[in-house]
């Protein structure tokens, strides 16, 4: 009788957890349409071969502006972009810590734009950076470092507690991608082929204090230490996005920090001509982010520096890698072709203009 009770209890617990897990999978946002950036972080864990020469960490300045496929095609460098929307420096640190559980890259490239933020900005961005990590001590530490006052740590451990009220907002997308999601990025690169030329920008606002926050320096120190401890070369990078404004005072601080810590700092804004960027054709949102053409130009420029400076081997003749990357290349060019087709048919990319597409549908 006692044995029967124990078995029943175990079955009950298993059933509760299974149901909870199923519900959580259903109720969490899928990020497969419109806000696709939310799917970037989790995609990494589906990678079969987590062994890269270069890992990028940072915000949209990495996942929109560099193409790992180009780095492979041009230099035989294997890379992955662990970027997410408005990834702040403490996100970057913990994402790197988590990545190092799976692999030890030769080089880590960190996008320094996030040094401008010394406070969490929005819960939505926290969710997009944190929820995609598997549950671990790193994830918990990351959530603790990132949370806004109104957020609860427990909801990062059990996201169902945060998203349970989505039950009345569930859409077709939630059921379609309940168990399996589409791949939206190419080794972390979010492709867009559309063009919106840059024109002029608002006058840069005067700041009361141009010094980056102490907490940003603390986390930058931690990233430096983490890389040193793991024998990884760290590169500080400012991508060539024209807005938000990158102040000379900020640049000077990064130059100084890189010098003191013997790091390579590349401010790509200083090399626009050399890169060959044309902001009338190489950006999809008037200079904030680059489109595919711009990202490929940046990758050619950056890849050459990384290869020469860190003596990265050309792995294009490695049969195993060749097969893996050919699959990625095929998916990359397929998406490129599809996006151009969409542009031709609709004048815009559907995935990134859902509202517009819905309005057009209504009018038809």
């Amino acid at each position: 009788m006692r044995k029967k009770k124990i078995i029943s209890f175990v079955i009950l617990i298993l059933a509760v957890f299974t149901l909870g897990w199923l519900l959580q999978k259903l109720l969490m946002p899928k990020y497969m349409t419109k806000i696709v950036e939310g799917a970037l972080i989790s995609e990494y864990y589906d990678e079969k071969n987590k062994d890269h020469d270069v890992i990028f960490i940072g915000d949209c300045e990495v996942y929109e502006n560099f193409s790992p496929i180009t780095l492979w095609e041009k230099y035989g460098i294997t890379s992955y972009i662990r970027g997410s929307a408005q990834q702040l420096i403490w996100h970057s640190y913990y994402i790197l810590e988590d990545t190092l559980k799976y692999e030890k890259p030769d080089v880590v490239v960190f996008s320094v734009l996030s040094m401008m933020y010394d406070k969490p900005q929005k819960e939505a961005y926290n969710r997009m950076s944190i929820d995609g990590l598997p549950l671990s001590l790193t994830k918990i530490k990351m959530a603790k470092a990132s949370m806004l006052p109104e957020e609860d740590l427990i909801t990062y451990v059990f996201p169902l507690l945060r998203f349970h009220s989505r039950w009345n907002e569930l859409s077709e997308e939630d059921f379609k991608y309940w168990f399996k999601k589409d791949k939206i990025a190419h080794n972390g690169y979010l492709m867009r082929v559309d063009v919106k030329p840059a024109s002029s920008f608002p006058k840069p606002r005067k700041l009361a204090d141009y010094r980056f926050g102490d907490i940003c320096y603390d986390y930058l120190d931690k990233i430096v230490k983490l890389c040193k401890d793991n024998d990884i070369e760290l590169v500080l990078l400012k991508a060539p996005s024209l807005y938000p404004h990158w102040y000379d005072e900020w640049d000077a601080q990064i130059v100084d920090y890189a010098k003191k810590n013997d790091l390579l700092y590349i401010n790509m804004l200083d090399h626009l001509e050399q890169i060959g960027l044309d902001f009338s054709t190489d950006t999809y949102d008037a200079g904030l982010h680059l489109n595919l053409s711009g990202a490929e130009k940046c990758s050619v420029f950056l890849g050459k520096i990384l290869k020469e400076k860190f003596n990265l081997a050309d792995k294009r003749q490695d049969e195993n890698l060749k097969a893996i990357w050919q699959e990625k290349i095929d998916a990359y060019y397929k998406m490129k072709e599809e996006q151009y087709k969409e542009l031709e048919e609709y004048g815009y990319l559907l995935k990134f203009n859902l509202k517009r597409a819905e309005e057009d549908n209504r009018l038809q």
Partner: protein
């Protein structure tokens, strides 16, 4: 009997997990809902209900309060000299900048809601001034004379606060080099 007990417990857990959030406390940040209490940035809207700030910008008889709905103001101001838009990463709203003769008007939208609200007004030259007569090039002493000593100093920035608005003056070499009205983001 045991099966009924198990079933009852399972149902209770499910109800607890799925049903405890009422619609008035919808916390789902993704995609953001206009009715969400966790409005990204926690911007306080409903300007018509709130007490008005004593700091607001007036231009050609048009009063511009922070967090006002922007459309009537933009209609009254007419065609801007320049327009710039900056979508937030991952569709979390849109910041827009309208440039007029002497100042820039910043607006924001929140998530899927297309309504624009006034975020900031920034002076570009001495062609415009505050209601108290301060402009680019005024002296720090003029600022203190006009607004008093109840300011908060952060480096070179002197800020006066009323309700939801910060009126800030950036001072360099004893002269005002930037004047801005800013919505206070809580």
């Amino acid at each position: 009997m045991m099966k009924i007990k198990i079933f009852a417990i399972l149902i209770s857990v499910l109800v607890l997990l799925t049903g405890c959030g009422s619609s008035s406390q919808n916390p789902n940040p993704l995609p953001p809902s206009p009715s969400a209490t966790t409005t990204p940035g926690n911007l306080q809207t409903a300007p018509g209900i709130e007490e008005k700030s004593i700091y607001y910008f007036s231009h050609n008889g048009i009063d511009i309060y922070m967090n006002d709905v922007a459309k009537p103001i933009l209609d009254a101001l007419g065609e801007p000299m320049h327009y710039f838009e900056s979508p937030s990463c991952a569709f979390q709203g849109m910041d827009r900048v309208y440039t007029y003769n002497g100042f820039e008007l910043y607006t924001y939208t929140d998530g899927d809601d297309d309504t624009e609200y006034v975020l900031s007004v920034v002076f570009m030259n001495d062609g415009v001034e505050t209601n108290e007569g301060i402009t680019i090039g005024s002296k720090l002493a003029d600022v203190i004379s006009a607004y008093g000593v109840k300011f908060v100093q952060d480096g070179s920035k002197y800020t006066y606060t009323s309700v939801n608005t910060d009126l800030s003056f950036v001072i360099e070499n004893d002269e005002v080099v930037e004047v801005s009205y800013n919505l206070i983001l809580e």
